[in-house]
């Protein structure tokens, strides 16, 4: 197991897990979601292939009222 930090919360994660795997577990909405890993935007198209590494800081964001 490795640990990734998702929205500031440490989360034990299987080695080799991708962003798409993580989002499936988190049960995120099907649209209006964006992801950054270690401050870098990871585009939606890259989610299935982007494997998470130990210590990665992941931000998972979604639409909210504002502006």
């Amino acid at each position: 197991m490795i640990t990734v930090v998702v929205n500031d919360t440490p989360r034990p994660t299987r080695r080799g897990e991708t962003i798409a795997d993580l989002l499936a577990v988190l049960d995120v909405p099907s649209r209006g979601v964006a992801v950054a890993v270690n401050g870098e935007v990871v585009r939606r198209a890259d989610w299935p292939a982007h494997r998470l590494l130990d210590g990665d800081r992941v931000e998972v964001l979604t639409a909210t009222q504002g502006g």
Partner: protein
């Protein structure tokens, strides 16, 4: 009268842009958006939270509005650029309401960071709508960078103070060719009408509607105010005089 509102190459029938912040429920928000007749609506990006009711995007889709993601809460150009890229990926739009805040008390923009972020985002192919101060020089600099509009604050966000410096809003209208959208400070319908009379092409407001005692009624008021102000701005108002000018002819007055 042909009075199309073109923004970022898109034609809009409504000159009222509504923010979604501050609404007490999605149901009240939906009713207010419909009452306002808006076609462009802001949304923000925040960390996913299981306790936040889902369905905002469904509401906006039902209302048939176009999304304008914002970079609210960003204090540096780097943060705003990153947020804009995240929003592009989340919402499939390259439109961005660019906010780079410089001060927590006033929430007024940081001019230096704003210019940096605007330049970068224009280069990255975004349709950039910057929230700016009412400084005509800064507005011109933003327009020169290729922003699709400039959006000066009438007064601080959420203050309801109206338009603190109407003269500067007029100067901004003269200084740039792109659309000018009054953004922030609107408290009530007369403020929105005034913005349009000063020559603004549209008005963006949120709190004035979402935090009103009756958001639906206020959204309707704003819809009419924007139309009234626009018509008045095009109608050629009478000059202001210090003394009266009789509207009834003096000729033919009987002599007693």
């Amino acid at each position: 009268m042909d009075d199309r509102f073109l923004l970022g190459g898109v034609e809009f029938g409504s000159r009222l842009i509504l923010g979604t912040g501050g609404a007490s429920s999605l149901q009240s928000l939906e009713q207010a958006l419909l009452a306002g007749g808006t076609e462009l609506v802001t949304v923000a990006l925040r960390r996913i939270d299981p306790n936040t009711p889902a369905g905002l995007l469904d509401v906006l889709e039902r209302c048939g509005v176009r999304l304008l993601p914002n970079t609210a809460g960003c204090y540096t150009a780097a943060d705003a650029v990153r947020t804009a890229h995240l929003a592009r990926d989340a919402f499939d739009t390259d439109w961005i309401k660019l906010e780079v805040i410089g001060d927590e008390r006033t929430l007024l923009p940081d001019a230096v960071e704003l210019l940096r972020a605007a330049e970068r985002l224009v280069d990255d192919g975004f349709t950039v709508l910057p929230y700016t101060t009412d400084d005509p020089v800064l507005a011109r600099r933003l327009a020169d960078l290729g922003c699709a509009a400039v959006m000066p604050a009438g007064a601080p966000i959420g203050s309801g103070l109206g338009i603190s410096n109407p003269h500067h809003i007029e100067l901004i209208r003269e200084a740039v060719r792109c659309p000018v959208i009054l953004d922030a400070g609107i408290g009530t319908a007369s403020d929105a009408a005034r913005a349009m009379e000063l020559g603004c092409d549209a008005v963006l407001l949120a709190s004035a509607v979402t935090r009103a005692a009756d958001p639906v009624a206020m959204a309707g008021a704003m819809r009419h105010a924007v139309v009234a102000g626009r018509l008045a701005s095009q109608a050629g108002r009478i000059p202001v005089r210090r003394h009266a000018l009789a509207s009834t002819a003096a000729e033919g007055l009987p002599a007693w």
